[in-house]
Amino acid sequence: MGAEEGGGVAVATGGPEPESTHRVEFLGRLGFLLTVVAVAIHLVALVARGMAADPNRVPWGNMYEFTISGSFFVALLYVALYRKFRLGWMAPIVLAFVVASLMVAVIWLHEEVAPLTEALNSYWLVIHVVSAIIATGAFTLGGIVSAMYLVKMRKGDTTTGPLARVPSLASLDRLSYRIHAFGFPVWTFAVLITGPIWAHEAWSSYWNWDPKEVWAFITWVVYAGYLHARATAGWRGRNAALLALLGLATLWFNFIGINYFSSSSQHSYAAPAVVERIPG
């Protein structure tokens, strides 16, 4: 960690007195270090989960595993982009989110390790799901930035209080764009390339409009709308941020809502009965 940016927090604070800058910088760096350690442990947990299954497999067969993998990628992306984009100010939000997701996973979603159902047992699944989860992590991070944009817009630019460390509106907007611009191609790859290839091998049609696919498509279109909005007069800033949050809502709805409420989705982790479907 370079001294000049190690404490992203310190960079963003503006200018408290020198001694306290020093302390803030030190604590910021300590916090980041702890986060890195936590992410490493999180990774170990994921790998262990995959190795606990017989045969060994990727840990994303059900909601529990998807949640712990998804929150891992949020944390990983945060750590990876921390220096480049000076994300220190996001620490409380991102870490609170990750901890909350892990709690939900452990308390409500926990399931014993089980082998994957047959149709899920494909290397296209690995590529498809890894990329979908990475994109989910990126969109979540981008959504947090967009949310902060909206909060900051309402509260105005302050130099005191908790919002003081949050970057300016223009930087938030650009930051959000850059994170989304990373997530969108990954999502495209997951949903429109590897997903259809896998679906084609498993179920014969590459695109079925099954509820999970419908929502993946909706998410894609909304994020395409977000990218457009940033180039459309009258839609920049606030409306674009709202679209980013709408995209995130559709993404999470797909993950939570469709898994639990849709019986016809072939993707339903809640009822993993892919090949056993009643012929219609």
Partner: protein, 515 residues
């Protein structure tokens, strides 16, 4: 464009102006955005209302539960949203808008390709991202440095040797943008070709039975609207055996794993026989057709003897699994039975067990296969002339057979057993169980086009999102002892942190100056 239309009232527009105005509106960014959001919104009903193409059973059930709404929903095509006129209207408008937007852009780009970077503005310090410094170099010398530095960073230079350097890079961003949008069209074409010329058919085959690829052999068949029967390839195959592994322990105990259907197939009637292990995720390709294993279940082999002791029905009957436990439902219709027709309807338990007085199946493997069926006689509706599903027994005019105790007579039977029906109706013999597989056969022309389209779209997208189109200008003039240099940079996409780039460039300019 809106200025001259606002000055006059709408009635004063000529038809031509009106047309041009409409076209401009349609091809504007704002319209594209609104249409995109509309498209997303329009897809929502397709996920909440059961769709004919995904879950036709669900559609039937939904219609039964909502008799009042059904006609309205049918009117609005809500059971086939993605084929509906209104959904198509949105994406066709979007495509028209896209073509209208991008044809001019492509032309502009083409012309701009060979154009020079624009000359430096008069006052560089008026641009938002700029820097100034002084150097000991001579003006011409330093500008030559600047040229070399910028060329080294991949900038294209304007060739006007003078007081300024004008440089531009990132031309490929717009190319990426164009490729992306054109590829969206390509994907749509590929998708449409599949929908129009392709077909998808399903058939349930009991182990040991043979399928040859002709329309009459399918249980269900969904052709595209331009599909022609000549497209069907003349292959045939036999499902020699079907194996499943059942998990006996762990949280998914009772579930099936490693499905394998041993196929023997011929690509055409006079080609050699080959074997293929058809598994999930491993389809068999024959020519342009692909064959998939997508389901399995049980077919109890039952022989029905009628009141005269003659065989009225014999063979495996496909029962449909109701859930992952493979508790299966089916009917047997012995309509040639004399003197009375015999109909059976009931459940098949692969591993039957009585738990607290209720029959259950503990797993999907057929470890303790048991049939439990109610018996009907009389008019089974088979002579009514209307085609009937083999999975449904029409009981509306039938009579339920009762036992001596006056309660409905139930046949509970295991392989090898025979049960005599009351009133001398006949007997039922359960001989054994055979597995069946559900095979899907499909042709999806255009899938390579669609795939190429999305891959191209992704490449274009990467270019469009990550290539930063930038212009950099450097101006130098003699001031007193040294040379005063002004540098300005402009990110044309408006998304980059230009100050960083500018600092980098300035640092490099000054480093070479010092060296």
């Amino acid at each position: 464009m809106s200025i001259d239309t606002e000055e006059r009232r709408a009635g004063e527009l000529t038809a031509r102006e009106m047309l041009r105005w409409t076209w401009r509106q349609l091809t504007s960014m704002r319209t594209a955005l609104v249409l995109l959001l509309l498209l997303a919104l329009a897809a929502v009903p397709g996920s909440v209302i059961p769709q004919e193409s995904v879950d036709s059973l669900g559609v039937t059930r939904w219609k039964e539960q909502h008799p009042k709404l059904t006609p309205i929903y049918e009117r609005l095509d809500l059971f086939s949203v993605f084929d509906s006129a209104w959904f198509s209207a949105i994406y066709i408008l979007l495509m028209v808008s896209l073509v209208g937007c991008f044809v001019p852009r492509i032309l502009v780009y083409w012309r701009g390709l060979r154009a020079q970077p624009p000359a430096a503005p008069r006052h560089l310090t008026r641009l938002p991202d700029h820097a100034t410094y002084t150097t000991d170099d001579q003006v011409a010398e330093h500008l030559e440095h600047a040229r070399a530095v910028l060329r080294g960073r991949g900038y294209r230079l304007r060739d006007d040797p003078g007081e300024a350097v004008s440089a531009e890079r990132g031309y490929l961003r717009e190319a990426g943008n164009l490729v992306f949008h054109v590829s969206v069209l390509i994907v749509l074409v590929g998708f449409a070709v599949g929908g129009l010329f392709g077909y998808k058919g399903g058939v349930i085959l009991v182990e040991g039975s043979t399928f040859s690829n002709s329309l009459t052999q399918y249980d269900d068949f969904a052709p595209g609207s331009l599909f022609r029967a000549e497209q069907m390839e003349p292959f045939s195959f036999t499902v020699d055996e079907f194996d499943v592994d059942w998990l006996e322990s762990g949280p998914r105990a009772g579930m099936a794993q490693s499905f394998n259907a041993g196929l023997r197939y011929q690509e055409s009637p006079d080609s050699a026989e080959k074997n293929y292990d058809l598994r999930v995720n491993h389809p068999l390709s024959i020519g342009d057709t692909e064959i998939f294993l997508i389901g399995h279940g049980y077919a109890p082999v039952v022989t029905v003897r009628d009141g005269n002791g003659d065989i009225a029905y014999s063979g495996p009957t496909v029962f449909l699994p109701q859930d992952a436990s493979f508790l299966s439902f089916g009917v047997i219709k012995a309509s040639s039975a004399q003197p009375e027709k015999i109909g059976l309807e009931g459940l098949f338990y692969p591993t039957y067990l009585m738990v607290d007085g209720d029959p259950v199946t503990v797993m999907g493997d057929d470890k303790n296969p048991t049939l439990s069926m109610l018996v009907y006689t009389g008019d089974l509706g088979v002579d009514s002339g209307t085609p009937q599903s083999v999975y449904i027994l029409d009981k509306s005019n039938a009579e339920q057979v009762e036992g001596p105790d006056g309660k409905p007579f139930r046949v509970d039977i295991q392989p090898g057993q025979t049960v005599k029906l009351p009133d001398g109706l006949g007997s039922i013999e359960f001989e054994g169980v055979k597995p069946w597989t559900r095979i899907q056969v499909s042709q999806t022309p255009g899938k390579e086009v669609a795939l190429a389209g999305v891959v191209l779209a992704l490449i274009g997208l990467l270019g469009s999102l990550f290539i930063r189109p930038r212009r950099v200008w450097v101006k130098a003039r003699r001031e007193g002892e040294g040379t005063m240099v002004e540098v300005a940079a402009l990110d044309r996409s408006g998304n980059g942190e230009m100050m960083e780039i500018l600092e980098e460039i300035v640092a490099e300019l000054r480093r070479t100056e010092r060296a």
